[in-house]
Symmetry: D2
Subunit: 156 residues, 4 copies
């Protein structure tokens, strides 16, 4: 008798939409890649807001949590995009660790009809982020805090 393992629940996915502008493109007429990280950072924040987590300027006051700075990022660029394109960033949390988590992004080009096809993958990115508090007695020093259980529950 075989047992089918209980499949892990699919992680929550939040979609953030971005219009590519003229000024986002470089002399090769394609998106200048640092802009993808700008959009991904916004997608990260919107993910938490959509999941019901208060904005960081509130959590800084209520619990000292100033945000989720990046520890490590790994991105793969698959196709180019240019101005006029609308991109969808599909964001989820792929893994929860003790003091960090992996936030995953799939950036897809929206077709003219409003849908997206797998073939239109533009880039994908896995980030390791932490939940951070200020290090006492410093201006800019930060330290990782344990994953807040309530935030993990909201985002899974």
């Amino acid at each position: 008798m075989t047992e089918t393992p209980t499949p892990a629940a699919s992680p929550r996915v939040v979609i953030h939409t971005v219009r590519v502008e003229f000024g986002d493109c470089d002399p090769a007429r394609i998106v200048w890649f640092p802009n993808f990280f700008r959009w991904i950072d916004a997608a990260s924040r919107h993910f938490f807001l959509q999941c019901g987590v208060p904005p960081w300027h509130e959590t800084e006051k209520t619990r000292g949590l100033i945000g989720t700075p990046l520890v490590d990022t790994h991105a793969r660029f698959v196709k180019t995009a240019s101005y006029g394109d609308t991109l969808e960033i599909h964001t989820s949390i792929a893994e929860w660790r003790d003091k960090s988590f992996v936030q995953r992004y799939r950036v897809m080009r929206q077709s003219g009809e409003g849908g997206t096809a797998a073939a239109d993958l533009i880039m994908e990115c896995d980030e390791v982020r932490i939940f951070a508090a200020r290090r006492e007695g410093t201006d800019t020093g930060i330290r990782a805090i344990p994953i807040p259980a309530d935030i993990k529950a909201l985002c899974s």
Copy 2:
């Protein structure tokens, strides 16, 4: 009798210096991470120029080479930086493949005395880049071309 293997020659390293500005920092008062990729992209271009490779707008005319777009990037963030810091980006080519290469960056904070210490590593990044030409009949399509031998010789 043992033979010491001939050590691989150290790759050529070019240093690109960046001053961190107020506007490069976010409400957490530290460098907003997409700016590191902005600086790294500039360091990549300066690396080739310092090695004697003509600017891409010239190579586009002479040999159809429009630049070195990014295929894959993996960055690790070690320490924060803030405005007032001067950063040194140490750039080299860690590996040459058939149609791509690995460009490596180590971003260090310059100490007050103008030196840098290993302890001051801010972030490091390995990028896979290609040498690109335009795909005929398209506006923004690009394709990888084989590593130009003369450029490889200049940069090793």
Copy 3:
């Protein structure tokens, strides 16, 4: 007997919406002002698209028109904005000249209910822009062309 002067027709207004992100803000926690110009430039392009003008990469092919570069800009900053705010950029063409035009922007904060009040004016800006073609025999040189009558008709 008095004559009421015929009022000038109100110019066409197009609204472009922008969400302020964490990375758009500086260590003073407010929008770092160059980002307003980034958004205004996008609003300028969307204005023309909404009015029915084809994108510049099409007009470059069909009529040599590469875009509407800026000649002069005058901006007044009234209130600060920060991340979490949604801004509406109200764009119109305030004046048509022979070889240039004045594009006007009023950036307002959207209230929680989706409306905007005059009291929520964040900044306003008047730009002088031209319709540009490439200068022959140069890479980056541009020259002003006369206002295209069809585009003027679409945008008034």
Copy 4:
């Protein structure tokens, strides 16, 4: 008998140098104009530092002065610039008012020989800025404070 009016002393000028990078340019292959404001903002801060004013994160602690936010800016774009160019931003304070001041910028292209000619003016900009403190009881509200006499003396 005629009196020659005492000529006003020339204001102090500080030069800030900027290399134009590939990613600073747009699909028209010229500097995307919001980047000029990015550089001008850095030139503004360097002006004060070069004049001997402490960085704003220090003045925030010692006297509540958080920086010099922009109230009004007026820029004129004269020539285009592109990557490979080195720009000099010549910064001075053109006028001191009660609670604001006019900071003036002239952005010139450095010629190959390291000099700049008046003919190489790229853009110029007059900004009205204030010295700002935080408005009590707010996160992002700011208010103008009177021009600090010591800073005025250092910068004139």
